[in-house]
């Protein structure tokens, strides 16, 4: 007669021994093993994203509405002060759509990186007590950033439709590509910085400052044509500007959703030609994706090397 204990012993005898991931294979093999481990935990990832969203606005009566208020107020500020007071909208047709599409994509990037960077520290309680593939924490922050992005995206699309500016053209294909570039680079930095932040807490404050800088280094409140005009004959500066994958992604996103940017418009008596989109934009986007994936690989490897000491450093 077999007992419960005996059955268990027999089942266990069949199982292979596991070693933790960082003691396992290195480089590409280790990367694949990590991805597989994360995939095995996707239900948990889903719960963590929900937890993040739920706990953020817990106990507030407006809840999710708050995640919309900030970008809308930002839109209002830029629209009124930069657009009208500083008269930027005289050179940028459909200024509201232009600014909001830039803000929406930028919001995804900055939220992924800033909440991702803090994610390991803020989940210290879990990390010290249970083993999980730790990449799951920056990924959960990314997940909640994606959720907020989608909510804003709905508002943006509604606004575009209401204004009768829906861009039915092949340019729409730029939208998913731009989002892909932002996600790849966002996750890369979130994974890398979350691990470094454990050992040097200054990182999370540094990130805030750098994000502020990067915001103005991307064509969000000023249009690409302003950049081209400002650079003048030093066209190599444009290449430097576009080395930042996020500037490139934001351009692509605007090219997809901001119809007026690809048309000749007249504001008052001002004739505004279409935006001088960079000539080899498709190639550059492809490059940003490929380089981003390579960077993601290295970021994950560094994360994997560092994670063994997380539990004692937090």
């Amino acid at each position: 007669m077999t007992t419960v204990a005996q059955e268990r012993a027999e089942r266990l005898a069949e199982l292979p021994f596991e070693v933790s991931v960082s003691a396992g294979p290195k480089s590409v093999g280790g990367f694949v093993a990590s991805i597989r481990e994360i995939a095995a935990h996707r239900q948990l990832l889903d719960l963590l994203i929900r937890r993040e969203l739920k706990s953020r606005y817990k106990d507030s009566s407006l809840g999710f509405v708050w995640s919309l208020v900030k970008p809308l107020v930002q839109l209002l500020i830029y629209y009124v002060f930069i657009g009208t007071v500083l008269q930027a909208s005289r050179g940028v047709p459909d200024f509201a759509i232009f600014v909001f599409s830039g803000l929406t994509l930028w919001g995804l990037y900055s939220e992924t990186i800033s909440t991702g960077t803090a994610s390991i520290i803020s989940n210290g309680g879990l990390i010290k007590k249970v083993y999980l593939p730790r990449e799951i924490f920056p990924l959960a922050s990314t997940g909640s950033a994606i959720f907020n992005f989608l909510v804003q995206m709905v508002v943006l699309l509604l606004a575009i439709i209401v204004l009768g500016q829906f861009p039915v053209s092949w340019n729409l294909l730029y939208v998913p590509v731009a989002v892909a570039v932002v996600l790849i680079w966002g996750v890369t930095f979130a994974v890398l910085l979350s691990a470094l932040n454990v050992f040097l807490r200054d990182i999370q404050y540094l990130v805030e400052v750098v994000m502020l800088l990067l915001f103005w280094a991307s064509p969000i409140v000023y249009s690409w044509s302003f950049v081209v005009k400002a650079v003048g004959s030093h066209t190599w500066l444009l290449d430097v500007y576009l080395l930042n994958p996020i500037s490139l992604a934001i351009l692509a996103f605007q090219r997809g959703l901001w119809q007026a940017g690809s048309q000749t418009r007249v504001i008052d008596t001002n004739v505004i030609p279409p935006q001088p989109w960079p000539a080899d934009m498709n190639l550059m986007l492809g490059g940003a994706i490929v380089v981003g994936l390579v960077a993601l690989f290295f970021a994950q490897r560094i994360f994997s090397r560092l994670q063994g000491n997380f539990a004692q450093e937090i």
Binding site: A5, R8, A9, V19, Q43, K58, V130, Q307
Partner: protein, 261 residues
């Protein structure tokens, strides 16, 4: 038992059937570096002399052992002897600096209070989150949910945020979840002392049941009585070394002896 009793497949004969090895620690060492200064100013001021401000501390040194399925093993030792570190290394929470740990089967860890509870979520939400962390699917949790709540006896507070729970309620819920995820290996670190007496008895009964079912339990405890009552093997640690490995009564004696040095 010594390693030579093991067959090639890593099993040992216990009680008439083959009992496989579920945890194998091989030459595990863990070093903590204690840096005394942390701020930038101190680092700059002490630059170049910073070696003096680093202390090495070996929490574990060359620890090797194997645990076969169905064993209840107690880790005992003085404060700071490396018990909890060893438990965390076994659970994969800390990576050793040298050596490795291999294990198989589902593992649940009860380290400190309410591992993985999120204070802002309700008890119910935490049950789902925690079971998922311990490896249950949503469907399985649905099945066990009532049983978990019944075991913890905190039904009326299950929809309250856990930040309002008392420490006893925390432990009740955490323990109830951990014993319902069907673990093959259960790691327990000193948590049983928190609940009230009836609940402690309930936990003991559950642990006895687990032993009958051939689950492996690794527990850290300062209570000699508890260790003697539950464990069939004891590892005594002192300054990161295993100084005794054997039966419970002898282990307790060895522990007492180590205190006298």
């Amino acid at each position: 038992m010594s390693v030579s009793d093991m067959t090639a497949s890593g099993t040992a004969n216990v009680g008439g059937y083959a009992s496989p090895v579920v945890v194998r620690a091989e030459d595990v060492s863990k070093r903590f570096v204690i840096r005394k200064e942390k701020s930038l100013k101190e680092r700059v001021v002490n630059f170049g002399r910073s070696q003096k401000h680093k202390d090495d501390f070996w929490a574990l040194r060359n620890v090797s052992f194997e645990i076969t399925a169905g064993t209840t093993i107690g880790l005992v030792g003085a404060n700071g002897s490396g018990k909890s570190t060893l438990l965390k290394v076994l659970g994969g929470i800390i990576e050793p600096n040298g050596g490795f740990v291999q294990r198989r089967g589902r593992l649940a860890a009860l380290l400190e209070l309410g591992a993985g509870f999120h204070p802002d979520l309700t008890g119910r939400e935490n049950v789902y989150l925690n079971s998922s962390i311990l490896g249950l699917t949503r469907k399985q949790t649905d099945e066990y949910f009532q049983s978990i709540v019944d075991f913890s006896e905190i039904e009326e507070f299950i929809d309250t945020q856990v930040k309002f729970y008392s420490s006893g309620m925390y432990v009740r819920l955490a323990f109830a979840i951990a014993v319902h995820v069907d673990p093959d290996i259960l790691l327990v670190d000193e948590v049983l002392a928190v609940g009230d007496e009836p609940f402690q008895e309930k936990c003991m009964a559950k642990i006895k049941e687990f032993q009958q079912e051939g689950r492996t339990i690794i527990l850290v405890s300062h209570s000699s009585g508890q260790v003697e009552a539950l464990c069939d093997r004891v590892l005594v640690l002192s300054h990161g070394n295993v100084i005794f490995d054997g039966g419970a009564p002898e282990g307790i004696a060895a522990l007492r002896e180590s205190f006298e040095h």
